[in-house]
Amino acid sequence: MRGPAHVVVRVERSGGFAGVSRDWTADSADLTADQAARLRALVEAAIDAVGDAVADAAEAVGEAADAVGDAVRDGFDYQISAQVGGRRHRWQGPAADVPAVRQLAEHVREVAFGA
């Protein structure tokens, strides 16, 4: 039985120049203590940046994208879900425009690369 600090983050990415869909998952149970702490910190930062509720998060990312990301062509489109203990959080949109969400997405990708 895992404790409340257990975190699983799944990143699904589409678009980009290549136009291909790829996905990566990071599970704190599979990481070192330092890596798991880093993952939790990034999830908390993303929640702080765009809100706690699913709807708020999606809306906030969308608003940010509308504000500054409208002219981007070949940008990535993200769907990110984070399971933190018993709670689930979700973000979607061109998360590149919300730094905390993009950092989370990039970290999960880096973990998958074994960095």
Binding site: G19, V72, R73, D74, E106
Partner: protein, 356 residues
């Protein structure tokens, strides 16, 4: 960071770059081009908001030259980074920088010599590119004012400056931004992507001096690393056949005809997927007419892209009609027939032309 001292204040340079006469504009742009960046980017943004879809000046007198600057982002996302090669600068010991610089030049030359267009906006706008963007960033993109190139993930994708068609693709997003302004979603978004593939691949063919039947019609072939199961990211000759690699989700999903049109919420409604349909139509026209793709087919597509009647929400059918109009306007019955046949072959009805 590189700064240029000027007795002309920045606000005046920006005003001249967007509102001056031809010689004033050229001088202001040249000054802005070697200056960094917030100023230049602001001027570019301002220029994108005024005078769009204007009638472009015919290139006369002195031959326009590319105002290009390449920056190194040093594997960060702080853009544009540090200036490493400016207008007229000598090559540096960094392949990505020099490929970007040369690619901007080749793209500028194609638009100037073939389509009589002076840079992105048709009025000599400086071209900015940043290389080494992000960590293992496997992408290239246009952000509305500059191009960005990553080094690739080192597993599937290499340096995104490796393919000249990729550089031409990104710069063409800027051209579309100043012309049809095709909305980046659904069919208009797929047209936006297709414009970039069409003109990007012609930039490469023009640089290589290839005719339509000599060209490979591949997009992104040179950036794929050894071990990749395929030839490129996209094939305009045979959409859906560029790769079959489990790391990219299996087989190339691009449709060649409307029978395979993909309805999806991802990728802004499949803009990089359904672009295979208009891509293939262009290929069919170019091959049917023979010679260089840019000789006739390229001019027809450019005529459609710059047609003031083409709206940002254009569908495939509406764009097809624009290409037929452009063929009628500039060429004869054989060219009109080739264009009409190509759209019919990919299953797109030309608006205003009865289906047979």
């Amino acid at each position: 960071m590189h700064h240029v001292c000027s007795i002309v204040p920045p606000y005046m340079l920006e005003a001249l770059a967007t509102q001056g006469d031809a010689s004033q504009r050229e001088a202001a742009v040249a000054t802005l081009a070697v200056d960094n960046t917030h100023r230049t980017r602001r001027a570019i943004a301002a220029a994108s908001l005024v005078g769009t879809r204007h009638e472009l000046p015919t290139l006369t007198g002195a031959t326009p030259q590319p105002h290009r600057s390449v920056y190194d982002a040093h594997h960060t996302e702080q853009l544009p980074g540090s200036l490493v090669r400016a207008v007229g600068g000598a090559p540096v010991a960094d392949g990505a920088v020099d490929r970007a610089y040369d690619g901007l030049g080749a793209t500028f030359t194609f638009y100037r010599d073939v389509l009589d267009r002076d840079s992105i906006d048709g009025r000599g706008l400086p071209m900015l590119a940043s290389v080494h963007v992000g960590r293992r960033w496997d992408n290239a993109q246009w952000d509305g004012s500059q191009m960005q190139f990553g080094d690739g993930d080192g597993q599937i994708f290499g340096d995104f400056t490796a393919s000249l068609d990729v550089i031409g693709h990104e710069l063409t997003h800027g051209v579309t931004q100043y012309e049809a302004q095709l909305a980046y979603h659904g069919q208009s978004g797929a047209l936006n992507e297709s414009m970039s593939d069409v003109f990007g691949v012609m930039v490469k063919q023009h640089a290589l001096g290839q005719t339509a039947d000599q060209a490979d019609w591949l997009i992104g072939a040179e950036l794929m690393l050894p071990g990749f199961h395929g030839t490129a990211l996209r094939s305009m000759k045979a959409p859906g056949t560029a790769y079959d690699d489990p790391r990219l989700g299996g087989k190339d999903p691009q449709p060649a005809t409307m029978a395979g049109y993909l309805h999806t919420l991802q990728d802004n409604g499949g803009v990089h997927l359904n672009s295979g349909i208009p891509n293939h139509a262009f290929y069919l026209v170019a091959v049917a007419l023979g010679g260089h793709a840019w000789d006739v087919a390229g001019h027809i597509w450019y005529g459609a892209l710059t047609d003031p009647a083409l709206r940002p929400t254009a569908t495939f059918s509406v764009f097809a009609a624009a290409t037929v109009r452009a063929a009628r306007h500039g060429y004869g019955t054989a060219e009109v027939a080739a264009v009409t046949q190509a759209w019919r072959a990919v299953g797109v009805r030309v608006r205003g032309v009865p289906a047979t």
